[in-house]
């Protein structure tokens, strides 16, 4: 190597050293004033739209909390910041990223990913390192039957999702044990959880299950199941197969003019059935975690509708419940930091386990398994092209329209 080359190399080396020192200094300075939360969310792959909602929800809450001065822990006040990675909607990647966030980035607190599958993949990692994770988008009841100590959820678990529909049908009937129920659930953990809840409830009322189909994940045609529905004339049809299940069911029920007095589904709001499928979607009941019209409120965001307005102003779209619950997860963390009075993960974990707050998203009361036992799921009904809360009656905006008129009268 030539002489000048050597000098250049030395200068470069010095520069690199200076940069490193500068970075280290600023990093340690940052650490003193901010708490870093880690999150792997799906920004690409099949969950990308919901992954973005999740990130938006986290960002909105972090921005709001920082605007208000930050989180008080002991006698210091910290700002929040989130380190994000894209888990590509694959569980294996999610587990890797959890490892990376904890080991390489030194994050001590994790926010959950989108979907039960990814949460299931990441939970063993956070458990291993004793890092508390508050998640807002993994509702599978199985997550909370494994004895995890560091996993907490703000949402109501899936087995509760469509219980309301069974209850409504039972309440409207003189003899619930005469009712016939048809079920079509996708063969995935989420939908099968919903199915377990519905089956237990139907059994409780002595209802008869006449159809129990498991939809394959790549099915986009359920006409065979619907013909069976036409033939067996159930009183209640329940469908759960994520957005594609909802869209396919609504579409094909109209095409095949399937008459059922009551129809309930999951994911119909995120599938935008009222917006894209118009009249076909009328009367459908949808299970949801949250709605902007509910009368919940807190000090940070105000009421549920204030949150929705803020979200809409920030992101130019209506607030999906996935974003609302994600924001609530950040609030739960902030509350636990303050109550713990320290940033020791163990102490924060203990504080999280006794969470009992009221938020714009609803009450969050963590039970001994880590899930939120304080909040009911609600049922929307599509009425005149809008999603209107009809159940539970305490928060209902409008009366349930039932039974559904037959297609020749619609």
């Amino acid at each position: 190597m030539s002489h000048t080359g050597n000098v250049v190399m030395k200068k470069l080396g010095l520069l690199a050293f200076a940069v490193c020192v500068g970075w280290a200094v600023s990093a340690s300075a940052d650490e003193a004033v901010s708490i870093r939360l880690g999150a792997a969310v799906s920004l690409s792959g099949k969950y990308s739209s919901n992954g973005v909602y999740t990130r938006n929800g986290y960002d909105l809450a972090v921005a709001r909390i920082n605007e208000r001065g930050g989180v008080k822990v002991g006698d210091k006040t910290y700002k929040l910041e989130v380190v994000y990675y894209d888990d590509e909607s694959t569980p294996a990647r999610g587990a890797q990223l959890a490892e990376r966030l904890i080991q390489q980035d030194g994050v001590k607190f994790l926010l959950g990913p989108y979907s039960s599958g990814l949460t299931e993949a990441m939970a063993p990692v956070t458990e291993k390192y004793g890092v508390p994770m508050v998640e807002a988008n993994g509702a599978a009841v199985s997550l909370f039957q494994k004895g995890y100590k560091y996993l907490f959820a703000v949402l109501t678990t899936t087995d509760q999702y469509l219980k309301g529909a069974v209850e409504v049908a039972a309440a409207r009937s003189a003899d619930p044990s005469k009712l016939k129920v048809a079920m079509a659930f996708e063969n995935d953990p989420f939908s099968q959880d919903v199915r377990a809840g519905v089956t237990a409830d139907a059994k409780r009322f002595g209802m008869k299950i006449v159809i129990d189909d498991k939809l394959p994940p790549d099915l986009n045609d359920m006409s065979a199941t619907l013909t069976k529905v036409k033939l067996l004339k159930p009183d209640l049809l329940i469908v759960s197969g994520h957005e594609k299940g909802a869209a396919t069911a609504v579409r094909q029920m109209a095409d095949q003019r399937v008459n059922v007095p009551m129809v309930a589904m999951t994911h119909c709001d995120s599938a935008r059935i009222a917006e894209t499928l118009g009249k076909s979607a009328e009367y459908v009941l949808c299970a949801a975690q949250w709605a902007p019209s509910l009368s919940y409120s807190d000090d940070l965001f105000g009421s549920a509708s204030d949150y929705a307005a803020l979200y809409e102003k920030t992101y130019n779209e209506t607030a999906p419940y996935q974003a609302a619950e994600s924001s609530a997860a950040v609030q739960v963390f902030a509350d636990a930091f303050t109550r713990a009075g320290t940033l020791d993960p163990k102490a924060v974990r203990d504080a999280l386990a006794t969470t009992d707050i009221q938020s714009f998203y609803g009450p969050v009361r963590i039970d001994e398994t880590g899930k939120n036992a304080g909040k009911p799921t609600i049922l929307f009904q599509v009425q005149d092209g809008k999603y209107v809360v009809v159940y539970p009656e305490k928060w209902a905006e409008a009366k349930l329209r039932a039974p559904i008129p037959t297609w020749d009268k619609r």
């Binding site: 690409s44 792959g45 099949k46 969950y47 990308s48 739209s49 919901n50 079509a184 063969n187 129990d212 189909d213 498991k214 939809l215 394959p216 790549d218 099915l219 986009n220 045609d221 359920m222 006409s223 065979a224 199941t225 013909t227 069976k228 036409k230 033939l231 067996l232 957005e243 594609k244 909802a246 869209a247 396919t248 579409r251 109209a254 095409d255 095949q256 003019r257 399937v258 599938a271 935008r272 894209t276 499928l277 118009g278 076909s280």
Partner: protein, 300 residues
């Protein structure tokens, strides 16, 4: 399972509904399978990306529809766009694997399928799409049989496209060149046929067929970026059953597959509908292999 079967036997009207809806679904599979049969026969490539091309065609039609293009024009728009995309794909990727080992071309098209899946997801989002043409349904036998008009239109269009394709391959200059290239590319080349151009046209034509199938799928069913594989698998099955270059066989195999699948879904339950398709495919492959082996012994 037995009670489901009895239900069908005792209610022939509803059995007709199951079969009819299956047949109409089969027409769309047949449309995608024409393209796969062409590409397989002419380029000797098993086009694993077929289903993704169908989905992409569906999204293009949906984009056109939501920008105010009327339903009858969305199909040609999507078919044209997909012709161009097919042509482009040939000159970027496919031409490199035409004379290569089957394994290489399967890998290449499989890779393409992942790229297109992610691209459709990035461009159009992962939401489920379905476009309601508002044509309604017709019903008969006291509502037992109900079929959406759009499915009937899809059926007719699929059959017409099959007919046009058959005529094109028989009588058009390019169609004859395509058949010549399929039979013996070297001889065709020596006799002055630009085989490279024929390959590109064939792949473009396949794109157009997929575009048509996709547009019909988004109007009659639902699509999302990850629903491509069932279309690939079904096209593959149909081509395996029908044999290469056999348009009539593709129609028959496609329709039967659709009907059988729907009946299986009814009798065995929806969870076995796709499993049934795969089982059927294995059986057919075994049977074909057995028949081919027999034929070889006669020859030797």
């Amino acid at each position: 399972m037995v009670d489901n079967f009895l239900l069908l036997v005792q209610n022939p009207n509803f059995a007709l509904d199951v079969v009819l809806n299956g047949l109409l679904a089969g027409a769309i599979f047949a449309l995608a399978a024409y393209g796969m049969s062409l590409v397989w026969g002419v380029l000797n490539i098993v086009n694993i990306v077929q289903g993704e091309l169908v989905v992409l065609g569906g999204y293009i039609a949906y984009a056109a529809l939501s920008h105010g293009v009327p339903a009858y024009a969305a199909l040609p728009v999507s078919a044209l766009a997909m012709f161009a995309i097919g042509w482009g794909l040939y000159y970027t990727v496919i031409f490199r694997v035409v004379d290569k080992d089957l394994f290489i071309s399967i890998l290449a098209t499989f890779g393409l399928s992942i790229v297109i899946q992610q691209l459709t997801n990035t461009i159009f989002g992962s939401d489920v799409r379905s476009f309601d043409t508002g044509l309604g349904s017709f019903y008969m036998l006291d509502g037992a049989v109900t079929v959406a008009w759009i499915k009937v239109i899809a059926f007719v269009l699929a059959m017409v496209s099959g007919g046009v394709l058959w005529l094109f391959l028989r009588h058009a200059r390019l169609g004859q060149a395509i058949r010549a290239t399929a039979q013996n590319p070297r001889a065709a080349h020596i006799l002055g046929i630009n085989t490279d151009r024929v390959y590109a046209m064939t792949y473009g034509l396949n794109g157009a067929l997929c575009g048509a199938a996709g547009s019909l799928a988004v109007m009659a069913w639902t699509i999302h970026p990850y629903i491509g594989l069932p279309y690939t698998v079904r096209s593959f099955m149909i081509v395996v059953v029908a044999g290469l270059g056999n348009v009539g066989g593709v129609v028959v195999a496609g329709l039967s597959l659709g009907a059988l699948e729907n009946v299986a879904g009814f009798v065995l339950g929806a969870e076995y509908q796709i499993a049934f398709v795969f089982t059927l495919m294995v059986l057919i492959l075994v049977w074909r292999n057995w028949r081919a082996a027999r034929r070889r012994t006669y020859l030797s």
